[in-house]
């Protein structure tokens, strides 16, 4: 098995007197497709921010290709947030800005921004103020911007949660293309269908702990943990099994 791109061991995050992420162990191999699921407030967004290095764990360790993450890890990762953060600029300027932040030269920046526009089918909206786009277009831009940075590992936090089915499929197509190019994907989703379409492995979080892991789609068909079973069956689940 290939050496993991990113690995976490004993990851904990505490805030406000509570342990919000509790002893998570995880390994993400190159080209992996991990679907992170769990109820609202289970800690999915927190886990992504920890793995991506946006917040520091209270305990535990994260390694990028076996070493503490540094500049190379930052350059090789990208993240699409639950609510897309778009600059007060045009669609095209948003793409060029991200590429500039990643240190791309001027000519390179211009060329890659145009590629990203075409790929996300946003080329006709290139001059439009990014924040005037529809929700679906904004999310496509956020994914396109992340992919323009040519990451090896892409984090996506509920990228289609507020989109209509057609927009969601357009975003899924971008994610699938990225995976075809060899990008590893960690995707938070509430949609079991999406998890099956875009995921190879499941990580099911319950109150900050990994309640269930396994290969998809099987892991969702016969969950072993009470938490995942309750979630799949749509039963209200109020806490970890005692």
């Amino acid at each position: 098995m290939a050496e993991p791109l990113l690995s976490a061991s004993g990851l904990c995050f505490e805030a406000g007197g509570g342990r919000l992420i509790d002893g998570v162990d995880l390994a993400i191999r190159p080209g992996a497709r991990v679907a992170v699921m769990g109820a609202n407030g289970a800690g999915k967004s927190l886990l992504l921010r920890l793995l991506h290095g946006l917040i520091r764990p209270s305990a535990g360790e994260i390694l990028w290709r076996g070493r503490p993450p540094g500049r190379e890890a930052r350059q090789a990762q990208a993240m699409v947030f639950q609510r897309p953060v778009l600059l007060r600029r045009s669609v095209r300027a948003n793409l060029r800005f991200a590429l500039a932040a990643r240190g791309a030269g001027r000519a390179d920046r211009i060329a890659r921004a145009e590629q990203a526009l075409v790929r996300a089918r946003l080329d006709r909206l290139a001059q439009r103020p990014a924040r005037l786009l529809s929700a679906g277009e904004q999310q496509r831009l956020a994914v396109a911007r992340a992919l323009a940075c040519a990451p090896r590992l892409l984090f996506l936090d509920e990228p289609t949660a507020s989109l209509d089915p057609a927009s969601a499929l357009a975003v899924e197509a971008l994610i699938r293309d990225a995976h075809a190019d060899g990008v590893a994907i960690v995707l938070v989703t509430h949609d079991a269908g999406q998890a099956r379409r875009l995921g190879d492995e499941l990580v099911f979080l319950d109150a900050g702990r990994v309640a269930e892991t396994g290969a998809l789609p099987g892991a969702l068909e016969a969950p072993r943990s009470e938490a995942a079973r309750a979630w799949v069956e749509g039963r209200l689940h109020t806490g970890p099994a005692r």
Binding site: F81, V85, R88, R102
Partner: protein, 235 residues
């Protein structure tokens, strides 16, 4: 009230006749105020952005200091600059006292804290929205400040407007360091004070009318720009 309306009519006459003295005073006022606002922005925008965007020890103290300095009384600023520029002061050798340069310095000292304090607030708010995206992109400190200032550009236009309003309206600082010397350092506010005390109401009123017209024009322009920015969701 005939005195007032008569004076107002003669004031409008002065403006329409493009009175040379009036034009000279207005020209110097604009030169001093615009130079001071530009200098204050040069100092206040990066300073405010740095305090707003970075976490460092003493940051709260810096914020409090900036906010407190916003309320500096113009006469006190005038006095401080006067002491600095007077013959026996540390910068006395420059010989700037009672020149337009001294007035620009005084108004810069007055306006820079306003620009810095308001910029700090605008930038801090925007940074809260952008911080994680910027961190994810690995943007360096200089890139962050530049991007925040650019994306706040329309809000910062209003900040500059606040500084401009303060500078055009104040009389104490320019009076003390400029001396209100005819054909040299006489600006609209100091001239209004002087002409009023001399009973020369039409020149005072003419200047007052122009001062208000300039304020309305500048405010109107900035508000129009902001409205168009809001339409593009850039505001």
């Amino acid at each position: 009230m005939d005195g007032f309306w008569g004076a107002l009519a003669r004031a409008v006459g002065l403006i329409l006749a493009w009175d040379a003295e009036l034009i000279e005073i207005i020209g110097l006022s604009l030169r001093v105020t615009l130079s001071a606002v530009a200098a204050a922005c040069l100092i206040g925008l990066p300073l405010g952005a740095a305090v707003g965007a970075f976490r460092f020890p003493g940051r709260i103290a810096a914020t409090v200091a900036l906010n407190a300095l916003m309320g500096l009384p113009p006469v006190v600023v005038g006095l401080m600059v006067y002491l600095t520029l007077s013959a026996s002061g540390p910068l006395g050798v420059l010989g700037l006292l009672y020149t337009p340069a001294a007035m620009i310095v005084a108004q810069t000292v007055l306006v820079a804290p306003i620009v810095a304090a308001l910029t700090r607030q605008v930038v801090e708010e925007l940074d809260r929205e952008y911080a994680e995206q910027f961190a994810s992109l690995g943007l360096g400190p200089l890139g962050r400040v530049r991007a925040l200032l650019w994306d706040a550009r329309y809000a910062l236009l209003t900040v500059a407007l606040a500084g401009f309003g303060r500078a055009t309206a104040e009389v104490g600082a320019v009076m003390i360091v400029g001396g209100n010397i005819d054909h040299a350092t006489r600006v609209m506010t100091t001239a209004i004070a002087l002409e009023t005390s001399k009973g020369n109401l039409e020149l005072a009123l003419a200047l007052g009318v122009v001062l208000i017209a300039i304020a309305v024009a500048v405010t109107g322009t900035v508000m129009t720009l902001r409205a168009s920015a809001v339409r593009m969701a850039y505001g």
